[in-house]
């Protein structure tokens, strides 16, 4: 079903912002973070104005309300991702979720000589924790290359890399290329060789339905802020069997059963990994965000984003000097379109686009190994989401052409 984009836009106060230079904001940096609908902002404000209290710690009314809201949010969010509250561990975002797998699962279950498979497409958040673990425990880290023509993973190399692997860590969708990996095939192949699978769904979750129990991955890392939720919260979805194999990551209050001067015992399940005061307002905000998103079919969001991303890609290809890194025409691609101009340096181009009111990302996108594989130091990236319009991308292309004609 076609989305009513104008009605959707009216839920986002920030989209009507006029920038200091008098230009209307056109927000194309959604792969970095999405904007937040008013209901999310209101839910968080209501918590602070009406029932701000610490959760799980007291018996007074406010504490009960805060605890109920925190756990209701867990229920809504886990349901949105096709699983149960017991399988959802709140984290600060996808980065912490991946670190939780590294510190809380891999450190307890992998040993010297074991193999972890990554890809060249990974965000630094899905590389550095494994490099650290490798240094500490003598674990071998293998990287699956990308095909520079199609910008897709080399699945033949993948098949070879996963032999004897204990853990396969793959991004669902590349934050640079917008390419969606064949995650179903990756999970199946990994399971066949007895490897566990961690999916980084930071980019995938805003664009398609993540159905944790049906997918069969062992771990899924998600950030709320890229899917209409607030910053500072995300989650690790973990299979029940894997949770029982995990040990403490961060320690302190809330995650303990008993503490004596001789030592401590720990809670079971997700509680063991949520130490300290929970991110209560953020969880409530994320709950409101998934409730807001639930009024739409995720495939409608994907189709809308794909339509404007593929149009943008086709129009960019007509501009002399512009090269696209990725395949926005591919029906599975998300809304990220990375590009470079052959003579206008990426930072300059971003400045000049910003002068027109267009917010795009520039840099290595925390994916330096991918930049190395592509043979570039950085790219510009326009990334679209549910509230972006055809008119916006038309005006973007028009401004981009103007810049290229004037500054190349």
């Amino acid at each position: 079903m076609a989305l009513d984009i104008q009605a959707i836009r009216s839920d986002f106060p920030i989209l009507s912002r006029i920038l200091p230079n008098g230009k209307q904001l056109v927000y194309f940096d959604n792969a970095a973070t999405s904007q937040k609908p008013k209901c999310v902002i209101d839910a968080m404000t209501k918590y602070y104005e009406q029932y701000n209290s610490n959760a799980h710690r007291a018996n007074h009314t406010l504490a009960d309300e805060a605890t109920t809201a925190l756990e209701n949010a867990r229920e809504k969010i886990s349901q949105f991702f096709g699983t149960t509250p017991e399988n959802l561990i709140y984290t600060s975002g996808a980065t912490e979720a991946i670190n939780l797998v590294s510190y809380g699962w891999a450190r307890y279950n992998l040993k010297e000589g074991d193999v972890i498979v990554l890809t060249e497409m990974e965000h630094h958040a899905d590389i550095v924790p494994w490099q650290e673990l490798s240094k500490e425990k003598g674990i071998e880290v293998r990287y699956v290359p990308i095909n520079n023509e199609t910008f897709t993973l080399d699945m033949d190399a993948f098949e070879i890399a996963i032999e004897d692997a204990s853990l396969v860590c793959v991004t669902h969708t590349s934050n640079v290329l917008g390419i969606r990996n064949p995650i179903e095939q990756i999970i199946e192949m990994s399971k066949e060789v007895g490897a566990h699978v961690l999916l980084d769904c930071a980019q995938g979750a805003p664009h398609e339905k993540i159905d944790f129990n049906n997918l069969g991955a062992d771990f899924i890392a998600i950030s709320a802020h890229k899917m209409a939720g607030p910053t500072g919260i995300g989650c690790l979805l973990a299979a029940s069997e894997r949770i029982t194999e995990m040990g403490p990551f961060m320690t302190g209050g809330s995650m303990i059963k008993t503490v004596t001067t001789d030592g401590s015992t720990y809670q079971n399940g997700h509680t063991m990994f949520e130490t300290g005061t929970p991110r209560i307002a953020e969880a409530i905000g994320w709950g409101a965000a998934v409730e807001w998103l639930s009024q739409f079919e995720m495939k409608d969001i994907h189709n809308h984003v794909h339509q404007i991303a593929s149009w943008t890609g086709r129009e960019m290809n007509k501009i002399p000097g512009i090269k696209i890194y990725g395949d926005p025409d591919n029906k599975n691609s998300s809304g990220a379109v990375s590009f470079l101009h052959e003579t206008i340096q990426s930072q300059d181009l971003a400045f000049l686009l910003d002068e027109g009111g267009f917010a795009v990302r520039t840099g290595h996108h925390c994916a330096q190994p991918l930049m190395d594989a592509l043979g570039v130091p950085s790219t510009n990236r326009a990334s679209f989401w549910i509230y972006n319009t055809q008119e916006e991308v038309e005006s973007f292309i028009s401004h981009l052409k103007f810049i290229c004609e004037r500054f190349a």
């Binding site: 400045f351 000049l352 910003d354 002068e355 840099g363 130091p377 950085s378 004037r406 500054f407």
Partner: protein, 143 residues
């Protein structure tokens, strides 16, 4: 050179930018400055020691005293906007004493209508390079 100001020989350049019709014309002029004043540091002089760290582009700064003991800035960046601003900064500081350069503020960039170039979040942009120049001038003034 006075505090929070710029040397008088920069006035005509500041004026030239101020007179631009709009921001795009201003950036066009800045690109021209970058082209007219390419990096005096050759690429093989771009090294880790003189690199201004950041994430968006490469930028390098080398400061020294010339044979007369006066400040000499040589800077290179792969972004034309940063290169243009550094070329203008070199015009401002070269031939001044290190102590004068250490007191320089980037206000002239604001006056040129390029305030957005001074935003701290513009990683590895002009502001980072400018801070490096001022800090090296402080060190050189103590020599």
């Amino acid at each position: 050179m006075e505090d929070a100001s710029w040397p008088s020989h920069l006035d005509s350049i500041v004026e030239e930018f101020r007179d631009c019709f709009d921001s795009m014309e201003r950036y066009e002029l800045l690109f021209e400055y970058a082209k007219k004043h390419p990096s005096p540091l050759s690429l093989d002089e771009w090294n880790e020691e003189n690199q201004v760290l950041g994430c968006q582009s490469r930028a390098h700064v080398k400061c020294s005293l010339d044979e007369n003991g006066l400040f000499l800035l040589r800077a290179g960046a792969d972004a034309q906007i940063v290169q243009g601003l550094m070329a203008i900064t070199a015009i401002a500081v070269n031939g001044q004493s290190a102590i004068e350069v250490s007191k320089l503020s980037p206000k002239y960039v604001e006056e040129m209508g390029l305030k957005s170039s001074l935003t701290p979040s513009r990683a590895n942009g002009f502001l980072n390079m400018f801070k490096r120049v001022v800090s090296e001038a402080e060190i050189l003034s103590e020599v």
